[in-house]
Amino acid sequence: MSLSDPNLDEPVVHLTHLDHLWFQVAGTLCNLTCHHCFISCSPKNDSFGFLSLATVDRYLQESISQGVKEYYFTGGEPFLNPEMVPILTRTLQYGPATVLTNATVLKDDWLTTLAAAEAASLYSLEFRVSIDGYSPETNDPIRGIGTFQRALDGLQKLVQFGFLPIITATRTWPDSEDGQILQRFSETLQSIGYQRPRLKLLPTLQIGAEENRTHGYRDSERISSDMLADYDVGQLVCEHSRIVTDQGVHVCPILIDSDDSLLGQSLDEATQPFAVRHGACYTCYQYGAICTNPSSPAASASPRRQASLLAGRESE
């Protein structure tokens, strides 16, 4: 259990509704070893393992009674999981699916199958591709030598198969440079034939490998009860999400390495409130809706703005 210590100012966040169900489908296994990875994924990190199609299917079934709205898949690198294509195909029978990938291991026959699965589904299949710079010089020092070109080749393949991938870049530069860097990203992507690139910037999370690359959180970087007054807690991932790993159901995709993140073995067991006591919770608070897609309702306005918009008055 993760309820707050009454002697500390550790506010708890309740799960309002399970909108987004995540799957740590590749565990912490990745073909890359990015220096800023908040769960230190690598080819050798097997602290979390692959999820099987059968396991995913069990949670998909349970998600119906929970009224889950969207499904997200992450890792590690999801496409290292040998059942990834059948998992996405199955998920598209239940609802919209988003997969977070580094795009370096994609194969043509997988994309042929997935394009057909999306065409046959009511729902969108979103690819979110992680690239952290608009050039080898800006990307490779973070993600590894040669990874920029490999990711760009993967992106080009996705575009050729008719997908419109969302490129996510972790902001390792000052906020003031966002406009210029987004422009350079856009130019790079258009140069490989992606005429209408979609881009999403993410904040760094100062845990895992990133803690060693830069620094961890200061003690003062925590959410207090006062900070949640007049704040739309819907911006916090734990208010509307849970994630399945090979160890059970955890509170959010960011904190799976934390001892208090494991909430139960079923979705029904994992609905309890969570004490937002971690430094990473502070980043989630600051930026809001950091894990979801731009089309998603949890990302539908900036923090502090939505409290007054919650539906209230009725008539008739």
């Binding site: 969108s124 089309s295 009725e314």
Partner: protein
């Protein structure tokens, strides 16, 4: 007993399309007309929609735009997160706020945010974005059926009707229940045609609930000239005359984006 209603939404100051839609709905003999919010935005002369809504006795609910204009807030609270989307949204909002009278702002401020309506034996919930949040985007391709079932269960209704996203869609659920996005009158729905849409809901028998999307043709070239005269962005005018969205695109999910030109 009410058995046939018209639901329209997202007028976005398109008074010419509104007038055409209201005439059409009246000729079809509807029992009532409801507007699901966002009277202003995008188009010219926001005050021109109010006399039409009054003349046809349209019962309105408040959208996010109406809430913002009514309270004189600093932006539309549309829910965009991408800077490019917000850039154009702000141009539209600043123009609409500056050109909406204080009298009409008071009307916007005082509109209800939801309405429960009976249509024959069916219980309807009319809202703007979703029953739980005025600016929630419920897109066809990113909303699971079991989530919609959850919303209808929670509110104990047979049909939920929304607008907000700008693209009409509907889904048949278990036990003859439905979710309907009624579309918008303010701008075409990114399909390359200039028509805009509203929706007829009809209960001809005690067991039959029908949904019909109605295209509305109007003098879009005249609207484009008015927008040009008001100094509204060329990108907005392009959408009116081509039917393709050219702004506020980043909020679209993959499938909806793939159907458009940009």
């Amino acid at each position: 007993m009410i058995s046939r209603i018209a639901c329209l939404g997202g007028i976005y100051s398109n008074h010419l399309a509104l007038e055409a839609a209201l005439q059409d709905a009246s000729q079809r003999g509807v029992d009532a007309i409801y507007c699901l919010g966002d009277l202003g935005a995008f188009g010219p002369h926001p005050d021109r929609v109010f006399p039409l809504l009054d003349k046809y006795h349209v019962q309105c609910i408040q959208g996010n735009y109406d809430h913002s204009i009514g309270h004189g807030l600093d932006d539309c609270r549309c829910g965009y997160t991408d800077p490019a989307d917000n850039y154009y949204a702000q141009i539209s909002y600043d123009y609409t706020l500056a050109n909406t009278s204080s009298q009409n702002r008071a009307l916007l401020r005082n509109m209800p945010t939801q309405r429960h309506v009976s249509l024959g034996p069916f219980r309807l919930l009319l809202c703007h974005g979703s029953p739980r949040r005025v600016n929630e985007f419920l897109w066809e391709s990113t909303t699971s059926s079991h989530f919609l079932e959850h919303l209808l269960d929670q509110h104990q209704v047979d049909l939920v009707a929304t607008t907000h996203t700008g693209i009409k869609w509907q889904r048949q659920l278990a036990d003859q229940r439905r979710f309907v996005n009624v579309g918008v009158l303010g701008r075409p729905e990114n399909a390359g045609t200039t028509a805009v849409w509203y929706t007829l809901l009809e209960a001809p028998t005690a067991t039959d609930l029908q949904v019909k999307f109605v295209p509305v043709e109007y003098d879009h070239q005249r609207l484009a000239r008015q927008m040009q005269a008001e100094g509204l962005p060329d990108e907005f005018i392009e959408t009116i005359v081509t039917g393709w969205w050219s702004t506020c695109l980043e909020v679209l999910p993959a499938k909806e984006r793939q159907r458009g030109r940009y």
